[in-house]
């Protein structure tokens, strides 16, 4: 088991006064079987005029805050201590073949589906950042020969993306469409996650977008992972029969997340779980400064 202290700071300097601001924060780690949140603090400056906490439709905790007084800066500081247990799948080979899985979960009129299959279908179709275009299948198809296990096929897809794509923070923005990423072969963790999800869904497999953190400075001898100084994103694929029903893949680092990945929230794509999503009235520039520090806690 690993224990981490996480500090996630976001600073907006709007340049001019913002008279009204509403924000939806996905900053509170969701409960998962392999994760336990020991302590969580959320500090906001200025103090919000109104706030409310509840779960969203995907089971993530969300904090809504509103600022009704004029302000020029917004500082959001989320601090937490979290335990993460190992949860790698015992073997990738145990999962069903991807094409059999698709057949097994297909809709049959008048027949009640398994609850887990029905739930997985929330993550099977188009979503705002994951448009399913016919260019995706040719890219992904060689990873999916008939009869291959769904987890092995997914790992092949992850490797393909990791090999063919270059990490480049300058190449894309939060709004860059998946097809453009496919064409440029560049992007950041969010783009790779969206692309991989789009490919999986195009093949007919349910896939989720996971938002979270990475250990900033790995133990001596291990390489520092890409994306460690900001919030991170990876992919989870539906794999009935595995311990948790879903298995995570990180295409940015070409590995299966385990105790060095901390899960914050999941949804269909980035739009469901953006750490800070807001609407402001007024203000000039609004590019935030974000800093994430994840340090191991002894004990």
């Amino acid at each position: 088991m690993a224990r981490y202290h996480i500090l996630h700071e976001t600073l907006y300097d709007y340049g001019s006064a913002v008279s009204l601001s509403q924000q939806m924060l996905h900053l509170i780690p969701r409960a998962c079987p392999w994760q336990h949140c020991e302590r969580f603090d959320l500090d906001l400056d200025p103090e919000p005029s109104w706030r409310q906490r509840r779960e969203d439709a995907f089971g993530n905790p969300v904090e809504w805050v509103a600022f009704h007084q004029a302000h020029q800066t917004l500082h959001v500081r989320a601090e937490m201590t979290i335990d993460v247990r190992p949860h790698l799948p015992a073997s990738l080979a145990l999962a069903p073949a991807w094409d059999e899985l698709i057949a097994a979960i297909a809709y049959r009129g008048g027949v009640a589906p398994r609850a887990a299959d029905l739930n997985a279908k929330r993550y099977l179709f188009e979503s705002p950042h994951v448009r399913i275009k016919h260019e995706l299948e040719p890219f992904a198809t060689d990873c999916f020969p008939p009869g291959r296990g769904v987890l092995e096929a997914t790992r092949a897809l992850m490797e393909k993306i990791h090999t063919e794509f270059e990490f480049d923070p300058e190449a894309t923005t939060v709004a860059t469409p998946v097809l453009e990423v496919l064409e440029k072969k560049r992007g950041v963790c969010q783009d790779f996650a969206h692309l991989m999800i789009a490919c999986l869904r195009a093949m007919g497999l349910p896939a989720r977008y996971v938002s979270g953190y990475l250990l900033t400075h790995p133990p001596a001898g291990q390489p520092r992972m890409v994306g460690a100084d900001a919030s991170h994103a990876w992919v989870s694929v539906y794999a009935p029969g595995s311990e948790h029903g879903w298995v995570d893949f990180d295409p940015t680092n070409n590995l299966l997340p385990d105790t060095q990945h901390i899960t914050l929230a999941w949804g269909r794509d980035f739009s469901d779980v953006s750490p800070l999503r807001g609407i402001i009235l007024g203000g000039g520039g609004h590019e935030p400064e974000v800093e994430v520090t994840v340090t191991p806690v002894e004990g």
Partner: protein, 834 residues
């Protein structure tokens, strides 16, 4: 023997005929209308059609067609002949449509809470989770009373055997009920006797029921009366006419997203006197655009935080957010089983046969029978135009087959329906009825006693004999729908009175800031139109008087017009680019592209009027539409000077009738106060700056005749009756600057402006009027005797004062804008942090 009206009417072969029975005889319920048409002399029908067209033009009924290169709005096409439906048959339609509304409401309630339909396999998840219209943030939201669908519409078609079929459900924000109402107002006036004798059922009760339902369920705190608003995407929406029309008819403020704001979990309307809580929103905006915080973030149209208020049940949306789901035609095939499961009932009216390609047997059938089917997107947000299998060539067919095979769940196919046919009046041939396919859109509203169906609806007739699609966008026409009563007509449902003395409203307290701002600009623009027309009229009259020669007096006039920005500075005579003054003046009248031209001023008036459409009476609209009509008619020809002068006279008539309506017929609330202040500011600024320039020039060159100053200020008659002699400087200045009883004098404007502004200030916060008041004192104390002793010096001194007055008027306008309107233009934007 004269030919009958039906001589050219094509007999139905493979379809139902509304007017003729299979043996070719006129059906009983059509006989009175048919007899009436047959007996009517040809001239009288022509007159009636012209009457209907005039109504449409003057009421400004329009249907905006985005793709229409000819402009924003196209007049609504209306065929004067109603579709007649007997009482007996209608009862079946009512029962079936009310059941369908109940069913779709129950289906939505299930899909947003619990999803037993998915859990039991009665609906494929692809048709719900695959739809962008399924709004995840609305999961678990429970609208007041469990009502998702307050308004529901269904498109019906009649099969060859006479049975009505549902072909499309409208659940997002069903449009057309307002057009149905407007059609009724017009057609019942086209056939007034017939309308009464046939005992046609009235529509008013339907709209009362809508109001009743909204008031019943609107979540109010103890003692509150619900504030209900109608939310429109704005004047660029294709059915904006209807939004304004309904808002006016129902008495609800017409608001855009920016007029509303969410504080905490409560929605407010931004009014001049502060934030007013909104309890219910009659929504004509698509739901995905309603809250940029949680739904589409790229939209400036929405109300950030609205979903918070919805989940807290502090506001009711009608229809509920997320209620567009049943518009997916692919769902139709699943409805019978859903009806059994949720209602324990059989569907009373069948849906057109539909195959969802996501199921293999259905897909195989569709691919094997493309010729007989019409292909549609399974998701309304795909915005796929229907594809008719039999119209495809080989390449197109291969393409659609490939698309269906790749993403089968995104496609559905429907059987082609042979629509019934009904007679339309031939406009090209006079006395002749033509057979056209018709479809009927029927409306239902939720009331505490169940769904109530409008007795009537919007009938649409195809534009061409062979048209497969009924669409107002493709040249079809609308018809009124006459549902006959078999008992006495109840004029109106009797409502229990709910208003007490404490609820009486005397001021426009629920006016949004945006509406008030637009009223202010409407006031300014109508006055600007008037000023521009007067200035150009004086200049043109001078030109005609001088026989086309450039006299010094004319040159002075032209210089003032240039200074006022009404005409553009030209080149010297002899230059290649020289344009004769006559041409420049005519251009200043008709050229919409030129800044400050009269045509441009007309456009500004129409634009600002469009923003406050529901606040203006129909009389206002008649004048405005006449203005637009005259300008369009005039704009298409080369222009003689005399003709242009006549056009200016017409413009001034319209402008004075607009003023008359504003002064005489508008309620004197805060909005009206801003309109009047806007008018006074504009007139004061115009008079002061023009008179100042005039006096300065007069002092320097003395080449201007004083009488045009009297013309410009409409003061000739007063002057003549007072002095019976040629205009003299002192007397003219006294009349047009200082005479407090002359409604065109500077001092009159100053006094009126101060009076109306102070009145506004008592209802609102303080309005800084010191500067204006100071200018008034200065002007009031001006010694007119100076014109006897040192006329030139008096002219320049007064000119300087007038410049100050014009500046003060401009500053008041800015202050009002800063204080009351500023937030209207402020744009929200999305911020994202990873």
């Amino acid at each position: 023997m004269p030919r009958t009206l039906l001589h050219h009417y094509a007999r139905a072969v493979d379809r139902y005929d509304e007017i003729l029975d299979p043996s070719g005889r006129v059906r009983a319920h059509w006989k009175p209308l048919y007899a009436h048409l047959n007996a009517a002399p040809p001239d009288s029908m022509r007159q009636r059609i012209e009457f209907a067209d005039r109504c449409i033009e003057e009421d400004g009924v329009a249907y905006n067609v985005y793709a229409d290169p000819k402009g924003q709005e196209r007049p609504w096409a209306l065929d004067p002949l109603p579709l007649v439906i007997p009482a007996q048959e209608w009862r079946g339609v009512v029962e079936a449509v009310a059941q369908r509304a109940r069913l779709l409401n129950a289906m939505l309630a299930d899909l947003y809470n619990g999803q037993t339909l998915l859990a039991e396999g009665l609906l494929p998840p692809a048709l719900i989770y695959g739809q962008h219209g399924y709004l995840w943030p609305c999961t678990g939201a429970q609208p007041p009373g469990g009502v998702f669908l307050h308004q529901y519409a269904v498109d019906l078609a009649r099969a060859p055997d006479g049975q009505w079929w549902a072909i499309a459900d409208r659940t997002q924000a069903p449009s057309g009920a307002g057009y149905a109402l407007e059609n009724r107002l017009i057609v019942s006036r086209v056939f007034p006797d017939l309308f009464r004798d046939l005992r046609v059922q009235h529509l008013a009760a339907f709209f009362r029921a809508l109001q009743e339902g909204l008031e019943h369920w609107a979540p109010v705190d103890q003692g509150e009366r619900p504030l209900i608003v109608l939310l429109t995407p704005g004047p660029y929406n294709e059915t904006y006419f209807e939004h304004a029309y309904l808002a006016r008819y129902l008495g609800y403020p017409l608001v855009e997203g920016q007029d509303l704001t969410v504080r905490g979990d409560t929605v407010f309307l931004k009014t001049l006197t502060g934030l007013k809580r909104v309890h219910a929103i009659l929504r004509r905006q698509d739901d995905s655009y309603c809250d940029p915080l949680e739904l589409r973030g790229d939209s400036a149209l929405g109300i950030p935080g609205l979903l918070v208020a919805v989940r807290a049940r502090r506001v009711m949306l009608s229809n509920a957010l997320g209620s567009g789901l049943p518009e997916s035609g692919a769902i139709m095939g699943f409805l019978p089983a859903i009806a059994r499961r949720l209602l324990g009932e059989e569907l009373l009216m069948p849906s057109v046969a539909t195959w969802w390609c996501g199921e293999k047997p259905a897909r195989d059938y569709v691919l094997a029978n493309l010729d007989k089917l019409v292909i549609k997107g399974a998701y309304p947000t795909q915005q796929l135009e229907p594809i008719f299998g039999r119209e495809l060539n080989n390449a197109q067919r291969d393409d659609i087959v490939r698309r269906i095979t790749t993403r089968p769940h995104a496609y559905a196919a429907q059987e082609l329906v042979n629509l019934s046919q009904a007679p339309v009046w031939s406009r090209d041939h006079g006395r002749r009825l033509l057979a056209r396919s018709v479809g009927l859109r029927v409306y239902a509203v939720a009331t505490p006693h169940g769904y109530q169906v409008m007795p009537g609806g919007l009938t649409r007739a195809a534009g061409r004999p062979d048209a497969l699609v009924l669409s107002m966008q493709r040249g079809g026409a609308a018809k009124d729908t006459w549902v006959l009563a078999d008992g006495p007509i109840s004029a109106l449902s009797l409502l229990t009175p709910v208003l007490g003395v404490a609820d009486l409203v005397r001021s426009g307290k629920n006016l949004s800031s945006r509406v008030v701002e637009n009223l202010f600009w409407f006031g300014r623009y109508t006055e600007r139109l008037d000023d521009t027309a007067r200035l150009l009229r004086v200049a043109l009259a001078r030109l005609i008087d001088s026989g086309g020669e450039t006299t010094p007096d004319l040159q002075a006039m032209v210089d003032l017009c240039i200074r006022a920005g009404v005409i553009q500075p030209g080149h010297d005579e002899g230059d290649d680019a020289w344009v004769p003054i006559g041409t420049r003046l005519v251009d200043a009248v008709y050229d919409v592209e030129a800044d400050n031209s009269l045509a441009y001023a007309v456009r500004q008036v129409l634009w600002s009027a469009a923003q406050i459409r529901e606040r203006l009476s129909l009389d206002h609209w008649h004048s405005l539409n006449r203005l637009q009509h005259n300008l369009q008619a005039a704009g298409q020809r080369r222009h003689e000077l005399g003709e242009t002068l006549m056009f200016l006279d017409q413009v001034l008539q319209v402008s004075s009738s607009l003023t008359g309506y504003s002064m005489d017929n508008m309620t004197r609330d805060i909005g009206w106060g801003f309109l009047v202040v806007g008018r006074r500011i504009e007139r004061l600024a115009f008079l002061a700056s023009t008179l100042g320039a005039f006096l300065r020039r007069y002092a320097a060159l003395q080449d201007i005749r004083l009488d045009w100053l009297l013309e410009l200020t409409d003061s000739i008659i007063t002057y003549r009756s007072r002095y019976s002699r040629q205009p003299e400087l002192l007397a003219v200045v006294d009349l047009v600057v200082f005479d407090e009883r002359n409604p065109h004098s500077v001092l009159f404007q100053l006094q009126a402006l101060l009076r109306y502004s102070r009145r506004l200030a008592t209802e609102l916060s303080e309005i800084p009027l010191d500067l204006l008041d100071q200018e008034f004192q200065t002007m009031d104390g001006f010694g007119l005797w100076q014109f006897e002793t040192q006329p030139d010096h008096a002219c320049t001194t007064l000119a300087a004062h007038l410049d100050d007055v014009a500046t003060a008027a401009g500053e008041l306008s800015d202050v009002l804008g800063m204080r009351y309107f500023t937030h209207v233009d402020a744009v929200s934007h999305q911020t994202l942090a990873r």
